[in-house]
């Protein structure tokens, strides 16, 4: 059993995972969106959950990674990915946000020593609309990260099952 798996059996996310999650997100945004994520201030409120992308992880690491943002931010991310204007991006927003979430999840698991080989990703799912409650069955802790993309907050969270 590797250290990460050992920590998960103790119902906590291993120390060091939050910086790796942040690095994973930064790399995806810099490479694929040509945009530098900024750290959120302490007074930054969470973004409205108008777009929520989810990717499941199964195997040695089980859980779900979510990315939440406003519709306006989702549109801007899509424009950045495709180099298109907002009108053209409208039809592609779900797909784009799902792919960003998918790449953050993949990049994160590839950085975890001993986890990458034994962990599979699901295809992404994207929920639109804020009127829902997320009931996580995670029992091994969670990580939450709020960062600023082009002036607007985005939230990335990892809920982990032991």
């Amino acid at each position: 059993m590797n250290p990460a798996q050992q920590a998960l059996t103790q119902n906590s996310c291993p120390e060091g995972w939050l910086p790796l999650l942040e690095l994973s997100a930064r790399e995806v945004f810099e490479i694929m969106l040509n945009s530098k994520l900024e750290p959120a201030g302490e007074d930054t409120s969470a973004p409205p959950s108008e777009f929520t992308a989810m990717v499941g992880l199964a195997g040695q690491l089980c859980g779900i990674l979510t990315l939440r943002c406003s519709a306006q931010t989702a549109s801007l991310m899509t424009c950045r990915m495709l180099g298109s204007d907002p009108a053209q991006a409208k039809e592609q927003m779900w797909d784009a946000i799902g792919e960003v979430c998918n790449m953050v999840a993949g990049n994160f698991k590839n950085k975890l020593t001993g986890m990458s080989d034994g962990c599979m990703l699901s295809v992404p799912t994207v929920i639109t609309g804020a009127d829902f409650t997320f009931h996580s069955l995670a029992d091994a802790g969670s990580l939450e990260l709020t960062m600023i993309f082009e002036g607007a907050p985005i939230q990335i969270a990892l809920e982990v099952h032991s």
Binding site: I31, M81, L82, D95, N102, M103, N110, L121, V123
Partner: protein, 128 residues
């Protein structure tokens, strides 16, 4: 280098567009780009058209990229066309599985046009 007919296989239409743009940014002169949303669709595309290069995701519904590469080796159409995987699955076992199945290259997402160039150009040059 001659003009290239490419097939891009990914369940995300956004990613298919990004891969196409990356090929162009890598300096590859594309004569035609065909698209498929999964491995089964890609096999269908290859029944009706010939391509010089296939860029393929791994995690896709219906038929994933690894199964597609395996089936391509015995397919009537498309056998011998170089396949480069472009995927979030970055583990060594996935790389080994893909290359063993017949893929010629492996690019991890997120990727830059330079990485596409580095992996794809030598394959195309060797083919020509």
């Amino acid at each position: 280098m001659n003009k290239v007919k490419a097939l891009i296989v990914d369940d995300s239409s956004v990613m298919r567009k990004i891969v196409e743009r990356s090929l162009r940014q890598a300096g590859i002169d594309l004569a035609e780009v065909r698209e498929a949303g999964n491995g089964a669709e890609a096999l269908g595309v290859l029944k009706e058209s010939t391509v010089d290069l296939i860029l393929c995701d791994i995690n896709m519904p219906v038929m994933d990229g690894l199964e597609f590469v395996k089936q391509l080796q015995t397919a009537d159409n498309g056998k011998g066309v170089p396949v480069v995987m472009i995927t979030t699955e970055g583990s060594e076992s996935h790389v080994v599985q893909a290359l063993s199945a017949g893929a010629r290259g492996y690019i991890r997402k997120p990727f830059t046009p330079d990485q596409v160039k580095e992996h794809v150009i030598p394959i195309l040059e060797a083919k020509q």
